[in-house]
Symmetry: D2
Subunit: 283 residues, 4 copies
């Protein structure tokens, strides 16, 4: 029938269009079938081996960061995280130590031979931050801060890009495209939970975003188990699911004394819990 014919043409045209669109994206696997491996100097992200990025929510003091770094060293985890520029809902919450935080991070990183990653929120800071950081993070609230993305695209540092609070997978891929379109293809995508009606967790971990992103793009994909769940008791199960579904790595927050943390006190692991967490994942 004519109706059936129309439907077939319709489907064909739709697929053609979508195909075309995907091909225009430099992040798409149609453009580049093989996996991108992100090189943080000698540490590789993507390409088969599982990686971890661990550290406190906020850099609070050298001693605090040092304690976490020691624990990483013990577990042979090569990448340390710590927030210095903190995007907080309220202007009266702790805003981070800024460049002083980055300096602490670098100093401790150098001490233990760890790579360091931290979030940058101002396009003007990207260049200076590169002196201290091995990887520049762009956080969920800035996933569509296109000025920041473009500046990150002009950096020669790898970019760790988090999915927006309520971003679609398509918007997430296009955010990465803003970076790669400026010349920087060293991008790690990070699923960190999305905003839904469910209040049992801080966000809803969209676990199937991982295989979708792995299929649609050639970039490595991480899962941030801390922000996606917001619950200490879910970090380990979420990490197991992330690894099983094919994530290239897991990000989690660890603090020597979570109860006194200046941010995210509810969801960070203490050092003992962290060791149990790693014991479970590495057995």
């Amino acid at each position: 029938t004519i109706e059936h014919l129309f439907k077939e043409i319709f489907k064909a045209a739709k697929e053609l269009q979508e195909d075309d669109y995907r091909k225009t994206l430099l992040v798409s696997r149609e453009q580049k079938p093989q996996d991108t491996i992100v090189s943080v100097e000698d540490v590789e992200i993507g390409g088969g081996n599982l990686q971890y990025i661990i550290g406190p929510c906020s850099v609070e003091s050298e001693e605090q960061v040092d304690q976490v770094a020691q624990a990483l060293k013990e577990r042979d985890i090569p990448i340390l995280r710590g927030g210095a520029f903190k995007p907080r809902t309220s202007p009266y919450d702790f805003q981070g130590l800024g460049f002083d935080g980055l300096k602490i991070l670098k100093k401790v990183g150098d001490r233990y031979g760890l790579k360091v990653v931290s979030e940058i929120v101002n396009p003007n800071h990207i260049e200076e931050a590169a002196d201290y950081l091995d990887v520049i993070q762009i956080g969920a609230r800035n996933m569509q801060n296109f000025e920041l993305l473009k500046e990150a695209g002009r950096s020669d540092k790898p970019i760790f890009l988090k999915r927006g609070l309520a971003a679609t997978i398509n918007e997430f891929m296009n955010a990465a495209e803003y970076i790669i379109s400026q010349g920087n293809d060293q991008i790690v995508l990070c699923e960190r939970g999305i905003r839904t009606y469910e209040t049992a967790t801080r966000n809803t971990l969209d676990i199937t975003a991982v295989p979708i992103l792995k299929k649609e793009t050639h970039l490595p994909v991480f899962v941030d188990v801390t922000h996606s769940t917001g619950r200490r008791d879910l970090l380990l199960p979420a990490a197991k699911a992330a690894i099983a579904i094919g994530a290239d790595g897991v990000m989690a927050e660890v603090h020597p004394d979570p109860a006194t943390a200046l941010s995210d006190a509810q969801q960070q692991m203490d050092l003992d819990t962290f060791h149990q967490f790693m014991n479970e994942l590495q057995k």
Copy 2:
């Protein structure tokens, strides 16, 4: 300070209240610390061993169901599913074969020694359906059809209860409570994805609902990988994540010829794909 004191009282009072409430629920682990094992005659769900429930979206013919049953037999999967009363968005979509469908299911089940499960949507049908079914399913659209839940609670068959389209975990637990409060504690909970803004998948699989439900209740928890993702390419990764995070079983739809299926043509596996799916999960 007084403010601090208030906060402490506040927290204590809140915890007390929540605690009290949880204790009132018969499904809660505080009421019964050990895992409930649901016995489908000699087949056990829960208690450590992984289970599968597999079959077509709709029962269409004896031949169709027979082909799927054969495949289950080959893989030693003891529970067959198939829809006979289909809750469809439009009244003009295929509504299922009704009791004729249940009869086909039972006949084929008996032939291969398989237990059978199917959805019942009318409280009046629960009793008659028990003649044909080993497990009665209550679907997502009926999770808060309390008349149906209460009737299911008076049945002596195990109940397979799916989470509602946009139900909170708390509402899901309370729906199970409607069943158990009538005397039937043989309940399997099934996470099947929730409704969010993301359109890359049919629903968003709320994977951390599994450990939350395992912690809060003593009931076994399944993951329906078909309806949560709505995409054939995500069934295997979703199943891996479900198993890794501690689900007691996986439900998936299999059809001998998905392209001609009367419902859910996009998301059912054909028999070859099903065997690959099981090969991957059982290796």
Copy 3:
């Protein structure tokens, strides 16, 4: 170019398809361009004059209902609501007085010459309920209880159908189609808020659903300001918006003593507030 040609065919085909589909629905305005007026005996809903449905969340006693009925009579509001079969999240919450509640409603309605509406949740009750009720309500949790919808479609009473907790507008229209397809076209649609991430209100009032439903269907459309907002301070502004955007009526809950109400204590108006509410809307 060929691409452009394809796009045009694509668009044309898509429009044709959607058009065709809409035409198949009996609730659609393409099927019946003129407004349906729902006749509750001599009271008309739809067709230009604004209507109100007011009453307590639950019928608790004859005296309670009588007080509200008096207030309605004073304001010349001809339709009284009151819940007798209450679908509650927990089985241990007040479940309503059942048929005794319907009898109270009818008795008080007769006393003041008011039409009465109440929710029915079991397909088996539709017929008996028709002895007491002028309008049968199907609630949000049962919007896709298709057995109930079909039974309502066989009734000769008008049906007041609420949008599901997280139903799309398309699903809502199809739920009404289940009713009309059985022969009953006396249907009032009621927007009552949808489930979103926002917690400042109980639900998010989807105000533009009103003009969409008025455009797509020929049925009258109400707004339930009580359940959409869940906040007493928002009832009046929400009602103003509903009227301005073209709703055929407003539903709101009123209780002589909300603080002691057996359900929804937070959101019902007392009689004074109700009179102020009506003063504002009728000035």
Copy 4:
């Protein structure tokens, strides 16, 4: 009983805490009970008189802007909008004319005596943009771009702040707090729809956010009917609802030839439609 006592303490403590928190916010009505009137030179926003902000999605040419400005002049609407820095999902979509766009806007604004508003996306541009603009807009994607907010707070221009794509009302108020905490209290809040599962509209207009924001803060509140609905046929009904519920103004997009628009072709009004829109609202 002790339980009851605890509940009362609990409630009292909770209210105290929330109260305290609200009092700390400079945007809160508890801090400043009377309405803030935002002065755009001699044009006032807030304080009782209804205002409109109208113009094309993007500034494309002087002629295009001139045509819209003429229409505004005819209707005595004193504020013209037009995008010059466009935050687009894809880096390959039209990104706006940048400062050239602002210059066109100013030139045309001066010609007709209109105030002009445009979105700024880079903290570095705020100062220079002040040479061209009477009001600086911060868009939905940048609602939690705190660097931009803080810079806006140091400007002496009024700020038009849009609610984020999926921001809570609480986050929205805190975003405004970032601005006011730097000294600038000339802030207009703009509800522009939130992200939900419903696809019939581009976003879901959260109409009750208007009375909530009016109650919680002392700032004027606008409704952007274009982005909240994304549908030309809903602009008028949405505007009626916005006005009825107490909004201080309405923002809408108008383009001389929407079909050829470089962005948002689907949702802008042409000039005739705009005049009908205003005829309906002003009658």
